[in-house]
Amino acid sequence: MASLLQVLFDALSLGSLYALGALGIALIFGVMRLVNFAHGDVIAFSLFALLWPSTDAVAIVFAGNLPWFLLIPFTLAIGAGLSVLSELVVFRRFRRANPATMMIASFALGFVIRYFLLMLFTSRPKSIALLPALSQPVEILGARIPLLQLITILVTLAVLIGLTLFLRRTRFGLEMRAAAENFTMARMLGVRANRVIMGAFALSGALAAASALILGSQTGTANIMMGANVMLMAFIATVIGGMGSLAGAVLAGFLLGAIATVMQVILPPDARAFRDAFVYGAVILVLIFRPQGLLSARGAKERV
């Protein structure tokens, strides 16, 4: 029972991380059909923003020393700021370009961010102790769950509920849903396109920063490549969730987390090193049977 609970929490917390990432990608895809591959690098940047530039192995923690109630908003603001900046400087110019061009631009932007970090911090991973109080375990029904895992899950749930309320209940949310559904039509009706897109980028960047905080506290290291794995899984989650469907992205994120965790448990020890190969195998299976994704966004389909 206790070990089952352990697996459940592992799955939920890993899934949370993927779901947050997938949501960040799906939000932007929804309003402008852009798969933002720079998302992972925004995650890395948000964490490195807490450090003072140096080439030493031990990080000189700078803003990371702020108390948590300042640290969290600061990091979220960094993520949102970088994301909005990338829209203003890069993506705005590609507004009318085709999706493939925008995707390449996002790759390029990702490299720029990554090499900027490389320049300031070198490629050596840096150890940082973020929110150290969170690493102690708590006992739930006999299972010892790291407090951080619990908080990851709760934070993700809070983000999901908050985002749902935001999209359903606010004026801006309404405009964003309409724009995600049919951007041209929304624009014709007078929905302010630039504002909506900027809002989507800000939200997406804040989600990247939230991922950064969770990843940073979990692993205790900052690595310029840290966003890459989450980004890849998050991208896969948006694809099998049905491109542009927010609920689908979240669902698929949790599903991927669950599959990965379960594989870790049930695979024979020799095969565990190849866990991701099995996960991607499962992804291929899903796409063979549901190429449109689990919950396809109806707006993304062409009408006949």
Binding site: E175, N182, G299
Partner: protein, 254 residues
């Protein structure tokens, strides 16, 4: 009293003239019909009137003042609304949100937009559809919602682009009653583009006939029915043959 006009409007696509010197007027409360064979330029004219298509020559005017250079949503703010072929609703959003977002985009607060959306659905007698996801609506309801959406914030003019396409005769009759109410009760000037000639003949006065981008006839229904040129445009034949499009259209109406 308000008047929307096209004054000698021409539109050319890469040298090809889609419209040449089209002039027409729609006044408040009037239902003007626009008919013509496929490719005559009907939708291009609506696009030009609503800012979707810049004009090459001539001018679109509202109460005599030119509307040059306005973008579609600015034209909408001036009180010229339109529908599109095939409805074009936000298919994942509930019907009420489809109307609400229009109000919000046009500057209403959320509460005011919801209130107006509810009033509009009630006025059209489709309050029961409010919570339905727009993409799940049958064809005719979808069209109605699209019209409701266009009526948000009381535009002075409504341009309907083939609202009856694919409708059965009773459905088209319902639509025709709705259009009468829009013009009669709300005092809106309506420009109706339709392939269903019967519907137009029974509803509109005057009727403008477009062929190959030019107005070939303007007049009351009787004159249009009798017109040699209209006959020719539709059939490509001389006068003595019957005009089944018109005949069958009239039957539908009666």
């Amino acid at each position: 009293m308000s008047e929307l006009g096209a004054d000698g409007v021409s539109v050319a696509f890469a040298g090809l003239k889609a419209l040449s010197e089209v002039t027409l007027r729609v006044a408040s409360g009037q239902i003007v019909g626009l008919i013509g064979p496929n490719g005559a330029g009907k939708t291009t004219l609506v696009n030009a009137l609503t800012g979707f298509q810049p004009v090459t020559a001539g001018a679109v005017t509202l109460d005599g003042a030119p509307l040059a250079g306005l973008r579609p949503h600015e034209v909408r703010c001036k009180g010229i609304a339109r529908t599109f072929q095939g409805g074009r609703l936000f298919r994942d959003l509930p019907v009420i949100d489809n109307l609400e977002v229009t109000g919000v985009a046009l500057g209403l607060s959320r509460a005011a937009a919801i209130a107006e959306a509810e009033q509009m659905l009630a006025w059209m007698g489709i309050s029961h559809l409010a919570g339905r996801i727009a993409g799940t609506l049958p064809y005719t309801d979808e069209r109605r919602v699209a019209i409701g959406r266009a009526l948000i914030r009381a535009p002075a003019f409504l341009l309907l682009d083939e609202p009856a396409a694919g409708m059965s005769a009773p459905e088209a009759a319902d639509l025709s009653a709705l259009i009468r109410r829009i013009a009669g009760e709300r005092g809106i000037g309506v420009l109706l583009i339709e392939h269903n000639v019967g519907l137009v003949l029974g509803l509109c006065d005057p009727i403008v006939v477009l062929d190959s981008g030019a107005v070939i006839e303007t007049g009351p229904p009787a004159a249009i029915k009798a017109s040699e040129k209209v006959r020719h445009a539709y059939m490509g034949t001389a006068a003595d043959t019957d005009l089944p499009v018109l005949e069958s259209g009239l039957e539908v109406l009666e």
